[in-house]
Symmetry: C2
Subunit: 406 residues, 2 copies
């Protein structure tokens, strides 16, 4: 008789976004004709850049000819893209990352989950609180999270690192020894970044303890502040303790086109094994590469024209973030994030709970948000707003929220 | 200190294809100017069908506009494709499979490996011998294969089902109780198919023992013989014991475009859990869907024009298979497969070993093949030839091989 993976049965329902959707539906059903503006969506809305479109058309054309057809590509990604990434995202910043350390993939979500394949089940995992749920759920599925404690909203084998106002929403190395540490900067959901000094402390902690930092910098392109690290490999010592996840999703609008990459430095070894070799073996065995057409599109992001075009889209979202942040701050609310990230982490007024304020904003301003409590216990008392909507709708939403505060 | 997944260290090198490449290189280095024809490649060479190209261009165009842009799609695939698959590959054959039972993915290789996530580590796995290495390696990585026995070329916890001339290269239900059973029909590497009667026996075995059959029918489009099942769901009882993997790779030339699907029937339950729900949870947590552009291309395969065009490519490969099979049979060799599959399983003459005959054909005919022994112990004494090359090159290769036999 087949035994299923019992860890799956321990997973609580993916409550957050379905509950948000349920409440929006309930409201619009009860109030037909109401137009809800969604500052809750974590998805981009701007079209792909013209250079990306041009490159994809060119690649599609090739695929229709005998001479230009591409069958199986390298599981690690085409050299043209690995080299463009190494040059554009690392060498250009003075960071030494070579093409053979870059693995092109179909998404940072896939990579953040699949990376667990190369690690033992008995590692102790540390995550931020609040947290992007994929880190938690994939470790729970693999058996690293222990048991889910319904009343606490936590797993009993995970280390939760509170990210709260007092520490600038930046996690501190825990007292317990963590083996695998997920860091996300710029952060989803808080919009906070980890400073160079704090990141150096993390690298030192990891090297001292033999830990591995799983560094998610999917929102790197949104960094505007001087001195904030764009990659963990800017930090001395990171090559012996860190794996970095990057994505074209938010950088270049690839959420529906699926391209990302993971960097595993050659020096990174644990238990006598090179993690680059282990990840390479995992990818070669369980993955068959990213479509040629998509990789050609992603490579176009690194041309001067492509770069200018994607930065113009990012500027569009940054302006939305500014409108939200300045608008709501001006109205007396307390906002975090939104400077180096597309997310604004808004403190609820009058000590309201996340869901209470969510309901109030939905009913009175007809604006959808995401309750912070849904990302973990330390998210209670916050809501997340995103800058990925249309500029006009975003301005309207901010005015509406301001209206209910008067 | 991070513990790596020790199972990775037990994996033998992926010897087969690298050794084939090494021997070809060594030969061409020693004999410069020699042109080697590769009947060893398992990759398609015909360009994408014009309807697929048209659909992809259309989708790329959409992605460049605000109105037509697509961000995150459903993890399970777009309804337009799930419905086209359900209708085109199942309903049209009188088989009841619904869109919600179909999960669009980036490849059968990914799915065959990732499906292990939903099953416990303590299941007993049965594989064919010879076998597509992905089934074995992914289970070894997960800890289900036990220890690798170098001298036997086998893992000590796997059940190997010999597929040999005596049983028509069709696996028999083992005496031991197998929990997870990988079946591949049409088969890679033997080119054999499992008959309706034999497949019914497998379904009965699985239902009686609570096993799950993981049915890989990536080469289904190559079936020409009357009465051969195109899907396991033609067999009564399969909905309570089988998962099916399909791919656009060989059907529509998508090896470099990455689209496939997995079918998990609603009735399939083990340990009180619906496997459809478990797989859905796995995909939603560790995968983010297939690119919109690619799904539009895949859907074009189900239009009348698209269908006619891909069948014309398949006919091209079938003709290659016929040329190989009839040519070599006519020259006194014994060939299996090649009727319902793009693979010809050639018995080496004079009791030669796989690698011996490989070397002989390489040196004397300048044709590259794949030694059967590389797919498992029961593959010894065979070589695999593929029909995916150019028509002209395939004819030349067959003449050359015939030449060395005279």
């Amino acid at each position: 008789m087949v035994k299923i993976n019992e860890n799956f049965l321990k997973l609580p329902g993916s409550y957050l976004f379905s509950e948000v959707a349920r409440r929006i539906n309930a409201y619009t059903t009860a109030h037909p004709g109401t137009e809800i503006i969604k500052l809750s969506i974590g998805d981009v809305t701007r079209p792909l850049a013209p250079e990306v479109i041009k490159a994809m058309h060119g690649a599609v054309e090739e695929m229709g000819t005998v001479e230009g057809f591409h069958g199986y590509g390298p599981e690690q990604g085409y050299e043209f893209l690995r080299e463009a990434v190494a040059q554009g995202d690392y060498t250009a910043r003075g960071v030494d990352i070579r093409p053979e350390e870059i693995f092109i993939s179909d998404g940072a979500k896939s990579d953040c989950g699949n990376i667990g394949d190369i690690f033992g089940v008995d590692n102790v995992v540390a995550v931020c609180d609040p947290v992007y749920p994929v880190y938690v759920d994939t470790n729970a599925m693999a058996g690293r999270a222990g048991e889910y404690q319904e009343e606490l909203g936590r797993w009993n084998r995970l280390i939760y690192m509170p990210c709260v106002e007092a520490n600038g929403f930046s996690p501190e190395p825990p007292k317990e020894k963590a083996d695998l540490i997920y860091l996300c900067s710029p952060n989803n959901p808080t919009g906070a970044v980890i400073s160079r000094e704090k990141l150096k402390a993390w690298v030192d902690y990891a090297n001292a303890n033999g830990s591995v930092i799983l560094y998610d910098s999917a929102y790197e392109a949104f960094i505007t502040s001087e001195g904030v690290p764009h990659t963990i490999f800017e930090i001395e010592g990171a090559r012996t303790c860190a794996i970095e996840f990057r994505s074209f999703s938010k950088t270049a609008g690839f959420t529906g086109s699926r391209c990302a990459y993971t960097v595993v430095p050659m020096e990174l070894e644990r238990g006598g094994a090179k993690l680059n070799a282990l990840w390479n073996r995992r990818q070669c065995t369980k993955f068959n590469g990213v479509p040629y057409v998509i990789q050609r599109g992603a490579a176009a992001v690194y041309t001067p024209e492509g770069r200018a075009q994607i930065m113009s889209n990012i500027d569009y979202y940054r302006e939305n973030a500014r409108v939200i942040r300045e608008g709501l701050t001006g109205a007396g609310l307390t906002c975090f994030g939104g400077v180096d990230a597309p997310y604004i982490w808004l403190k609820t007024p009058d000590g309201l709970g996340s869901w209470e304020f969510f309901d109030q904003v939905l009913a009175q301003a007809n604006v959808a948000t995401t309750p912070g409590a849904g990302f973990g216990p330390s998210g209670e008392g916050y809501i997340r707003l995103t800058a990925f909507g249309g500029a006009e709708a975003t301005r309207t939403a901010v005015e509406r929220v301001k209206g209910i505060l008067r």
